[in-house]
């Protein structure tokens, strides 16, 4: 479907997908496997957001180039308050600048037997490294500082599963701080979206938060955009010139 003169058309975006780098995600979620499944499910745009790390983003992007799926690099950062925030970026330089800040404020070493393996893979499904940080842990970054940092690096800051009690902003902080400047709220369960302020606050998105291959694309957001890029996504969230995000 085409809308307006800018050649805006609707596509399906699942902007919160984990890979085998997240200790709690299935090992079979290699960057290549994630991208292929996304293609099979008809997703034109995906966001790769592992816990407190972005090390599988470059491989996912290269797989995406091969398969024709647009990949936005991101990270699901745990704030000091134990609120999960998605940071999505246009360039790897910005993304890895955030990763550096996150790593500096993230203590501990992973215990694979307890939390699971943290595999860094390349686009040919080969294991490159095992990340040894305690990625499941919380950083010491206060929420407002984290959102500010993401914005300084030209990224989008989205409250992950905002309606969920565990690691969601409403559960941890009781209500939405009004001056946070979030670009969107991700809803885990669309049936619970009435808990959040529609119309006044940030726009809603829905994503799968997939930790296993089969769940990829289970939920998605319709984005009406001219091309599948972060800059266009920002315009969708702001509702500029015929662009929109619909859940």
């Amino acid at each position: 479907m085409s809308l307006g003169s800018d050649n805006v058309s609707e596509l399906r975006a699942d902007l919160h997908i984990h890979t085998c780098l997240s200790p709690c995600a299935d090992l079979e979620m290699s960057p290549r496997a994630v991208v292929r499944e996304a293609k099979r499910k008809g997703l034109a745009l995906i966001g790769i957001c592992d816990h407190n790390s972005a090390e599988n983003v470059p491989a996912a992007r290269r797989s995406g180039e091969r398969e024709g799926v647009a990949v936005i690099g991101g990270m699901e950062v745990t704030s000091r308050e134990e609120v999960h925030i998605l940071g999505l970026f246009a360039t790897d330089r910005d993304l890895f600048a955030l990763q550096e800040i996150v790593y500096e404020s993230l203590a501990g070493t992973n215990d694979e037997r307890v939390y699971g393996e943290q595999v860094v893979a390349n686009e040919d499904d080969e294991v490159v490294a095992f990340n040894t940080k305690l990625l499941i842990g919380a950083t010491q970054l206060p929420l407002d500082r984290l959102v500010e940092k993401i914005h300084e690096l030209n990224g989008l800051a989205i409250a992950a599963h905002a309606d969920r009690e565990a690691f969601g902003i409403l559960g941890a902080l009781g209500f939405l701080p009004d001056d946070l400047g979030l670009d969107a709220l991700e809803i885990a369960n669309p049936q619970r979206k009435h808990l959040l302020p529609a119309g006044l606050g940030p726009p809603f998105i829905v994503s799968s938060d997939a930790h296993s291959i089969g769940r990829i694309g289970e939920r998605y957001t319709i984005l009406a955009m001219a091309e599948p890029t972060l800059a266009e996504m920002r315009r969708c969230l702001r509702g500029e010139e015929g662009r929109y995000a619909r859940i």
């Binding site: 407002d144 009690e165 941890a172 902080l173 009781g174 701080p177």
Partner: protein, 111 residues
């Protein structure tokens, strides 16, 4: 029991609301999920938490809590301290864990 007696007994550092320590404490609550505290804390409670976000002051104020004790020597954000003075919510700091602080409060008869 008054706040000032609790501050003395537990050796708490007073970060905000130093002029409000004559306030009576009627009970206690411990929790780090603000949604839970909003649902279950009672008026006059002393609240023990590790959260330092400014939202703790809004929660303490709407629930009319006596004061907030931050554990593990957590440092509150500047905006939290400012809001605490505005809303008249004392902020007290302990080096101990939530478990230890609550144990001591219970021994003092705060139940």
């Amino acid at each position: 029991m008054r706040l000032k007696d609790i501050v003395a007994a537990l050796g708490l550092e007073v970060k905000a609301g130093g002029d409000l320590l004559a306030r009576e404490v009627s009970g206690g609550y411990a929790g780090d999920m603000l949604s839970d505290v909003l649902a279950h804390a009672r008026k006059g409670d002393l609240w023990v938490t590790l959260q330092t976000h400014v939202n703790i002051i809004a929660v303490a104020s709407t629930k009319e809590l006596a004061a907030v004790i931050l554990v593990h020597k957590r440092t509150p954000e500047e905006v939290t301290l400012r809001k605490a003075e505005e809303e008249k919510i004392p902020i007290l700091i302990s080096p101990l864990s939530t478990y230890a602080v609550v144990g001591k409060l219970y021994e003092l008869g705060i139940r």
